[in-house]
Symmetry: C2
Subunit: 459 residues, 2 copies
Amino acid sequence: MNKASRLFWPTLVTPKNAVVKQTEQLSRSQKLLTDLGLVKPGSNGTYQLMPIAQRSIDKCINLVQRNMQEAGGQKISLPVLTPAQLWKKSGRLDGDISEFYMVRDRSGKQFLMSPTHEEAVTAMLATTAPISYRQLPLRLFQIGPKFRDELKSRFGLMRAKEFLMKDMYTFDVTMETARNTYATVSDAYERFFRQLEVPFVKVEADTGMMGGSLSHEYHFISPVGEDTLLQCSNCGYAGNAEVFGSDTETPSTCPSCQGPQLSRVRGVEVAHTFLLGDKYSKPLGATFLSTSGKPETLVMGCYGIGITRVVAAALEVLSTEQELRWPKLLAPYDVCLIGPKQGSKEQATAESLENELLQTLTQICGPEEILHDERKELTIGKRLLDAKRLGHPLTIVVGGKAVQQETPNLELHASGAEKLELDVAEVLSLVARHVRHKQKLLHEQQGELRISQTIGHVH
Amino acid sequence: MNKASRLFWPTLVTPKNAVVKQTEQLSRSQKLLTDLGLVKPGSNGTYQLMPIAQRSIDKCINLVQRNMQEAGGQKISLPVLTPAQLWKKSGRLDGDISEFYMVRDRSGKQFLMSPTHEEAVTAMLATTAPISYRQLPLRLFQIGPKFRDELKSRFGLMRAKEFLMKDMYTFDVTMETARNTYATVSDAYERFFRQLEVPFVKVEADTGMMGGSLSHEYHFISPVGEDTLLQCSNCGYAGNAEVFGSDTETPSTCPSCQGPQLSRVRGVEVAHTFLLGDKYSKPLGATFLSTSGKPETLVMGCYGIGITRVVAAALEVLSTEQELRWPKLLAPYDVCLIGPKQGSKEQATAESLENELLQTLTQICGPEEILHDERKELTIGKRLLDAKRLGHPLTIVVGGKAVQQETPNLELHASGAEKLELDVAEVLSLVARHVRHKQKLLHEQQGELRISQTIGHVH
C-alpha cells in the first residue's frame, strides 16, 4: 500500500524573478510533470525521475520487455562505454560527431557514451565462437540509458540528452529470413502501441545515419512533434516527409496510389525499426557458419523504442492543460482512495468504511496499485485536486458526505470523466472492470486487439 | 518456457597463441562465466552480460528492490551525467580524480559519469520546495550503471569499470533519527544477504572518501577478496583492517574486548553503508523546515549494494573449479529438463514422459523457471555436462534408460549433490520443495530467517 503522506513528490519552486529560457520551453505534459514534481530537470537536457514517474517508467519497461520476449528476444546488457575504435570501423565517426559524448579513460583510450549499440553488439558476435545457421535467427535486446548531446534538447523527457531506450538487434541467415524477423518484431511493436491505447501511426522512414534498406517509424500525433508526416486519405499510405527529400513541401501525389489526397500532420517519433543488411556485420566481421560450413556475413536488423519518450509523449497526447492522463497500463497507480478529513463530524463512520474499502481494493488490485491519500489534515477538495492533476484512472472519495445517507454513496472520479455517485458495490465493480481491462490488454494475442484509432492505416 | 536450442550462450574462443595478460586475470567464477559464455569482456574493464547471466542480475535487482521498498525506500532515477560543478561544491574534486570519467558537452560544460550520486541527490533536494519535518525520514534509491576508471580492474564483474549499483540516500531531521534510519536500512541489508544464503560478514569500516561518522561494510569471504578483515574469535568483533590504519599488521588486541584473539581473513566488499551527517547537505544547502518553521540542514545517510558484484562474488564463493553454484534466489532457472536423444530406441516413450513432466513442472515453477534442453542431436552426457557446469539447482534427465523399467526412474542432479534416481512423484516433490524454499526466503520477515553461517557475529 502506498501512502500519500509518505510519497516524495516535490512540487516545483520557481524563483519569483526567474526567466524561462527558450531551451527550457516545456510542452503541456512536461509542464505538468515538472509542476507536479514527477520529473525534475537535472543539468541542461537531463532529467531526474521522481517516485511517481519512476513507477510509470518501470511499468513501461516491463511491458516492452514482455513484448520483446514474445518476439523471441533474449535480454542482455552491453556497456554504456563503447570503444571509439569500433565506430571508426563502421564509418560512423566520419560524419558529424557533435552529438556524441566522447570520453577518454586513464590510458587515453577513447570511448563513446553510446547513443546506440550496433557496433558493440556486432563486435561482440564477431568475437564469439562462430554461430551455426541452426542457431539463427538470433534476437538480442537490452534496456538502458543512451546518450546524445542534442543541440536542442527540449520538451523535457521527450528530447533529453540522456534517455532510456529498449534496443533490439537481430541476426539472420538471409535477407529473406531477416524480413521475417522484421515482420515479427514489427508485430510486437504494433501490439505494444495498441496496448498503450494511444493513437499511433507507422510510417515509411528514411534510414538516415543508421543505414540499411528498409525502415519504419512509429509516431504519436502531436502539435509538438518534430517530424512532418504525410498521410494519404485515399489509400492509407503514411510516410515521414524526410523520405521525400523535403520537410516543407507536400508532394502533389501519393507515392502509393498516385492520388492527390496527401495531407500533413506533426508526429513525435517513439520507435524506429531498421532492416540493416550487412552495413555493420561486414566491416566488423560478424559471420555465421552456413549449411556448407563456410562463414557468411550475418544479416542484421535493429529496433528501438524510446522508453522515457514513449511515456512522455503518451502523456502529451492524452493529457489536458490541467490534468495528466495515463495509458491504463502505465498509470502509476490504478486507484487513489481519499479518506475523510480530520475532525469532520462523520470521521469515525467514514474511516471504518475507508478501511473496509482498502481491504477489498487490495484484493482486487493488489496493494501496490493503490495510493491511499490519508493526509487527513488536508481538505478533501485539496486532495481531490491533487488526484485529478495526477490523473489516477480511478479516484474514490470516502468523505463525511459519503456516509450521511443510509447506503453510503461514494464519489468516483474516473480520469477524464464526470464525477459519479455510486454505492460501494458499484464502485468495486468499476475497479474490477478496470483491472480486467488491463489484464485483457496484457494478455491479448496479437491481432485480437481492436486496432486503436490509428490515423491512416499501417503501411 | 526457455529452450536450450534457442538460448544465446556463446562459449569462449581463445586464439591458440593468445597470451593471458595480468590485467585479464580471472578468478574461478569469472573464468567459468567467461568460458561458458555467460559474460563476455567488452573493452578493458567493462563486461557484456549474456542472456543467462542477465536473468540472474535481473533477479538480484528485483530482490534488492523488494528489500529497499520494505525499508521504506522510494525508487527514483538520477542521470548518469552529474555536473562537475556540484562535485566542486562538495570538495570531492579536490583530491585524486584519476578514477573519474570526466566528459564535456558541446558547450564545454564538464560532467562526471557518476561513480555515486550524493551530490546529485542532495542538489536535487536543495532545489525542491522545502520539505517539512513531517515528511521525514525520506529514503530514495535507484538502480543503475556506475562508472569508475579503476587503475586495476580485475576478476571480471567483481571489479569492473562500469557496474550496476543500488544506491540509497536517506534524509532525516536529527542525528538520532538518522541512526534509526541507519538501523532500518542495515536490517534490510542483512535480510538481503541472508536471503542469498551466502556467508557474509558485516564489519566496521573506514568512511574514506565518502565521509561521515559511521560506516559498515558487508563482505563475502574469499581468497580473491581485496580487503583484509580482522575478526575476534572471543567477542565476535569484526572490522576492516583499514580502520586500524594498517593493512598489513594485525593489531595485538581486539578493540572491543581487548582480547588477543584477532585473526585475518580476505573479504570481497559487496555493500557499504554510511551515516553521512551534513557532509553533503551543508555545502549543497539541502534543508528542511523544522517544527519552528525554520530551515535546518538535512542529516543524510547513503547505502550501496553492488548488484553485478554481489552476483559475481556469490558465484566466486559458492562455485567449484568446474561448476557454477548460484544462490537459489538468483539461479537463472530453477530446473533444467534434459530430454532423450534423437534415434534412441526408447525415444517415443521418453518423449511422452518428457512432455508430461514439462506440463507439471510448468505448474509448479512457472514456465519462465524451466530450461528445456531439447537439443536432441546431442547426447545426454554432453547436455548433462553443460547443465552441471551452468549449475542449475535441479537437473532432471528423461533419457531412454529412465523408461526402460516399468516405473520410470529419473536421474535428478541437484547442484552440488550426488545424482539421485527417483520416480516421477519423488522428483516433482523435490522440485516443489525447492520452490517452497525460495518462497520462504522471499517472504520471511526480518529476523525469522536462520542467520546463515556468518563468520564472526555482526558487530
